[in-house]
């Protein structure tokens, strides 16, 4: 796809997302916003795991750190736009620290190291009641205003989140097309070869974690303001698994993979559950089983994710 067609398709998709919100119910706009918020985190995870090849099962921890920072600082009266860089920076620094195990271990060992980190953060959120409110959480998290415009309404907040997602996507697009992006891909494909070309694999491994974590932290800030009440549950390691699933289902290492995968993982079950179409009514009970079977089938037939379908078709059409 050439650049102009790509931009036109993207603009059309964004326009459709903006217009459709005007005709949706409040709960549906909420779900769309939740999708956008999770895409921020899964975009970061796609950088860490998809582009740089560093397996991580700790993304929900950064999402949670961002959310709790937002909850605390917004309630203290900080402006939303001041909270964003703080959350990004804190998650970046913690992400750097989490990157250190990746210098020693890889693949499933690294997955367990990051999972352990997620469990630790989750326990801190549950037990440090003075700061996090423990299992009672933090309520009354305000939504922002921007240039005097109140973004408290569900549609206004959706536009705010969608606009922010576009900005974040633009940053990631730029990053991936810079020499940094090539270095991440080289790190994933073959670290030794990358090092022989002068790529500092220590620095880029740490950066892959840190930048991915910063994206999740920013997502967490939007999440806290969206739900207006947070408790540790959404930041359990099962959310990290869900995020990784979204990246893989959409297409790991593909720019739009997280957006598509998160739509499948977040929106599809809700669509199936809420379906009132007669022949889909059984989904109200069976939606999770159907979703699970669909994911298993997808991983068998399209292990590269939904966005790899064209590559698979090309391979089928080519010489065997």
């Amino acid at each position: 796809m050439n650049a102009r067609v790509h931009l036109l398709a993207l603009a059309a998709a964004l326009a459709a997302l903006a217009i459709v919100a005007l005709y949706l119910k409040r709960s549906e706009v909420y779900l769309l916003t939740l999708w956008a918020v999770y895409v921020m985190a899964t975009m970061g995870l796609n950088l860490t795991a998809g582009y740089a090849g560093q397996m991580s099962l700790g993304q929900a921890a950064f999402f949670g750190i961002g959310a709790y920072l937002a909850a605390i600082l917004l309630k203290l009266g900080w402006p939303f736009l001041a909270v964003l860089p703080v959350a990004a920076l804190v998650c970046f620094v913690v992400g750097l620290a989490l990157g250190f195990p990746a210098l020693r271990v890889q693949h499933h060992y690294l997955a367990f190291a990051t999972l352990g980190f997620n469990v630790l953060v989750y326990l801190a959120m549950r037990n440090e009641e003075q700061i996090t409110g423990g299992t009672f959480g933090i309520s009354g998290i305000p939504r922002p205003t921007f240039l005097g415009i109140d973004l408290g309404g569900h549609v206004a907040y959706w536009y705010w989140t969608l606009g922010s997602l576009v900005v974040l996507g633009g940053i990631l697009w730029w990053l991936l097309r810079s020499p940094w992006g090539r270095a991440f891909a080289a790190l994933r494909d073959n670290p030794i070869r990358a090092e022989s070309l002068g790529v500092n694999i220590t620095a880029y491994t740490l950066l892959a974690f840190a930048i991915g974590a910063a994206f999740a932290g920013v997502g967490g800030v939007y999440y806290a303001s969206l739900v207006e009440f947070i408790e540790p549950g959404p930041f359990h390691f099962s959310t990290s698994l869900m995020m990784l699933l979204a990246v893989i289902v959409g297409g790991s290492g593909k720019f739009y993979g997280p957006a598509l995968g998160t739509a499948i993982v977040i929106l599809l079950p809700e669509f199936l559950r809420g379906s009132s179409t007669p022949w889909l009514k059984f989904m109200q009970v069976w939606y999770l089983a159907v979703f699970g079977i669909a994911v298993v089938a997808l991983m068998i037939w399209l292990p590269g994710g939904l966005l790899s379908i064209r590559e698979r078709l090309d391979r089928k059409g080519g010489p065997q």
Binding site: R182, A183, A186, D189, A194, S196, N200
Partner: protein, 248 residues
């Protein structure tokens, strides 16, 4: 005799404290020559290149480049000093395009310099220019090897270390790659090569160093060794190197 540009002086190195591969290895490579490292499996040929390029730190002894000690220097610094390394096997990043693979070759250069350097390399490899926007994995084996070498040349190295460039290539392509290395050496680049395809490689090399058990067993002009009826035994490590010992 050309001046020594690479020197190993009683170097001991290996992959773990209990696994020593280079056992007080002493050898050299000379400016503008192709020096061929041969020997049986496990003799330490690839380990010489890895130690030279900073992937392994010598436990003792000294590695010198243009007279300067480079023990333990990281690859980034050695690239900047004028060494380049093409490891064994497929070295491209298959998910990236040919252009992006080349850009990675100039990763340590200022960004503005990279396009001109790529253009310089493409003048030498016109076939690669035709494939610039293709994914690297779609290239043939010979094209991939050309791209690997071209990418290594992007930094205009004074010394090119290359490990088994003929692996996976047809005989015609092997000759093409060897001729390319010969032309590089004739233009002044020193080449230190490990190669299993000994007879072909000897035809294009100036010197051959035979390693056995991590020590230099033989140092002879390549043309002389090519005519040696004992070549197969030497290469397989049958011990006849004692008949033609390396100079002290």
């Amino acid at each position: 005799m050309a001046e020594k540009i690479i020197e190993f002086d009683r170097v001991v190195a290996g992959y773990s404290p209990s696994l020593t591969i280079l056992n007080e290895t002493t050898l050299d490579a000379r400016k503008g020559e192709i020096t061929l490292l041969i020997g049986p499996n496990g003799a330490g040929k690839s380990t010489v290149l890895k130690t030279l390029f900073g992937f392994l730190t010598p436990r003792s002894g000294e590695v010198r480049f243009e007279g300067r000690r480079i023990n333990g220097k990281p690859p980034r610094e050695l690239l900047a000093e004028g060494l380049a390394y093409v490891p064994q096997g497929r070295n491209l990043f298959p998910s990236l395009t040919v252009r992006h693979n080349l850009e990675l070759g100039g990763f340590t250069l200022p960004r503005a310099e990279v396009p001109a350097r790529i253009d310089e390399v493409l003048q030498r490899f016109p076939r690669i220019r035709e494939r610039l926007d293709n994914q690297a994995s779609t290239m043939s084996g010979g094209e991939q090897k050309q791209l690997e070498i071209g990418r290594a040349l992007l930094l205009r190295p004074r010394v090119l270390l290359i490990d088994e460039p003929s692996i996976g290539l047809s005989p015609i392509l092997v000759r093409d790659v060897m001729a390319l290395l010969r032309s590089l050496a004739d233009a002044g680049t020193t080449v230190l090569m490990v190669e299993q395809n000994v007879r072909t490689a000897l035809k294009y090399s100036n010197r051959a160093l035979v390693l056995e058990m991590g020590r230099l067993a033989l140092d002879r002009p390549a043309s002389e060794l090519l005519g040696d009826p004992d070549l197969n035994r030497l290469f397989l490590g049958a011990g006849s190197a004692k008949a033609h010992p390396a100079p002290a």
